[in-house]
């Protein structure tokens, strides 16, 4: 084996280097770039400058009430209004969560839209969603909306097999609907369905060229927006992937060959291959301003980019909260659970155990400094202090951490593992003596803490009588 070409001497330090420029505990870890990204497009190297993200008006859009509702029982009007209200608080006054879209077909759809708008929030702005049908614009106009999404499927799977048509006829049909939108004074947002499985040069780019030409004939506020719909989750974020699956190349071609501005481009993904969040962030990175999301990723089949993940990604890229109220994420999750939409316990940011550690050695670390095993200040940003789940692996450290958290002990009040030895012994006996195989619930521990830690209980909880 050859000798390494660059020596790496150990750098001893007096104080720990916690890399706080990136890992500022009060924020999600920042995403910092140290150079351009290079992608080869049509054989030529093209540079993307990710530092542009700091100044670009990237934002989040929402489809919880449209794609999200396609994956679960319909929300009641009251539920939609409550979710919309919390979503407005989450996105904040700067409109980080910029728009949300509504079906317009039923009385309930229209009532929900009216009541959401009646709340008077500037954001998320309400838009519609219709089929590519000229008659449907009456619904959009009647609802008083300025913008609507419309389905413009563009892969041959859809054109030939679903719509039973051909490229020329379908392109003309779509353009007629866009014209109808212009005539109705409604901004059309063309949803390029199945774009990551489409013939980019043979259909997508000619169609977008046509849309851009048509947009030249109307005022700016009516110009066509483009939503890139990765309907089956085929999109890929890595450099070097070929079209139509390459997100960087797709966005580059629309931006630089068709002339679509970043603020009229939106990415809509699906999670069939576990790539949904990163693909959305990739779209931001390569020049698409809007990423379409749903709360907790609820959406058709495997779901859409989760809004809460996009929110944290946004903060990590911008380096600032930008008016976002992240605590609304926890309230939204609690509300979703309360109306019967389960969220897996290990689901990031909101699952019951997302910041719960089980191993005793990790609990020991948490006890010494919560930053060791907590991703950021989850207490401040989400109202969720780091927790430990008690099993045979928790050890006395884990039990001590549970006790401190349960009694809300801070600073010098916090107890060490020696003080909770009796409870730790009881926990271990559940497994070693009684052969238990499941985690011990908070309720069980609470009952035992009352019995085995009477002094603590008296001091912080009052009477030990059940």
């Amino acid at each position: 084996m050859s000798r390494p070409s660059k020596p790496h001497p150990l750098v001893e330090v007096d104080e720990p280097n916690l890399l706080e420029d990136t890992f500022d505990y009060s924020l999600p870890p920042l995403i910092r770039f140290d150079g351009p990204i290079v992608e080869y497009i049509d054989g030529q190297p093209v540079q993307f400058d990710p530092k542009e993200l700091a100044s670009r008006d990237i934002h989040i859009t929402d489809t919880t009430f449209r794609d999200g509702q396609q994956a679960c029982p319909p929300y009641s009007v009251d539920q939609m209004v409550h979710i919309y209200d919390l979503m407005a608080r989450l996105g904040g006054p700067n409109g980080v969560v910029r728009q949300t879209e509504f079906f317009l077909y039923t009385k309930n759809d229209r009532e929900a839209l009216d009541r959401c708008r009646a709340l008077g929030h500037d954001y998320p702005q309400c838009t519609g969603w219709i089929r590519a049908d000229k008659g449907d614009f009456r619904l959009v106009k009647a609802a008083g909306l300025n913008e609507t999404g419309m389905l413009t499927s563009c892969s041959d799977y859809h054109i030939f097999y679903k719509l039973k048509s051909d490229r020329k006829r379908i392109l003309e049909r779509y353009c007629q609907v866009v014209d109808a939108a212009f005539e109705a004074g409604v901004r059309p947002r063309c949803h390029l369905e199945d774009v990551t499985r489409a013939d980019i040069d043979g259909f997508v780019l000619p169609f977008v060229d046509r849309l851009m030409e048509m947009s030249e004939q109307v005022p700016e506020h009516l110009t066509v927006k483009i939503r890139l719909c990765d309907t089956m989750g085929f999109g890929i974020s890595y450099p070097g992937v070929e079209l139509p699956r390459s997100i960087p190349k797709l966005i580059y071609k629309l931006r630089h060959e068709c002339g679509v501005p970043a603020d009229r481009l939106e990415w809509h993904g699906h999670n069939d291959f576990h790539k949904v969040h990163v693909n959305g962030a990739t779209a931001w990175l390569y020049g698409c301003d809007a990423v379409n999301t749903t709360l907790f990723g609820f959406g058709e089949r495997t779901g859409n980019p989760p809004m809460e993940a996009a929110v944290f990604e946004y903060i990590a890229l911008k380096g600032d909260l930008c008016g976002i109220d992240t605590t609304a994420i926890t309230e939204l999750a609690d509300y979703m659970r309360s109306i019967g939409l389960p969220i897996p316990a290990n689901y990031p940011f909101v699952g019951r155990h997302f910041n719960t550690t089980r191993a005793g050695i990790h609990a020991g670390g948490l006890r010494q400094d919560e930053r060791i095993y907590n991703i950021f200040d989850t207490t401040a940003l989400l109202g969720r202090p780091p927790r430990v789940a008690i099993t045979d692996k928790s050890g006395a450290d884990g039990v001590a951490l549970w006790v401190n958290e349960f009694f809300g002990l801070k600073g010098d009040e916090r107890v060490n593992k020696i003080k909770v030895h009796a409870l730790a012994r009881w926990v271990l006996d559940q497994y070693e003596v009684n052969g238990r195989l499941t985690a011990i619930s908070d309720e069980e521990l609470e009952a035992k803490a009352r019995e085995l830690l009477p002094e603590l209980w008296q001091k912080y909880k009052g009477s030990t009588q059940a």
Partner: protein, 82 residues
């Protein structure tokens, strides 16, 4: 308190917590390797010493003590501090 008394009471506590006989408990007995103390039992031992001698020890330092003799010396510092 005389060191001899501390030794006797330490042996008594060790026998109670670890379930061993007094004959097994020697000054150079290692709590883990000779007397079989597991992690939670080590914590119980420290707690039991604190209760027996009515003292409060630095928990990390106390848990780092490896042998019975070292424990007697460690406890003696707290017992005879005043």
């Amino acid at each position: 308190m005389e060191k001899n008394e501390i030794e006797q009471r330490v042996v008594k506590v060790v026998c109670e917590v670890l379930g061993v006989t007094p004959e097994m408990v020697k000054p150079d007995s290692n709590f883990v390797f000779d007397l079989g103390a597991e992690s939670t039992q080590s914590v119980q031992l420290v707690a039991a010493f604190e209760e027996e001698f009515d003292i409060e020890m630095d928990s990390e330092e106390a848990l780092a003590v490896e042998t019975v003799g070292a424990a007697v010396d460690f406890i003696e510092k707290y017992v005879n501090k005043n």
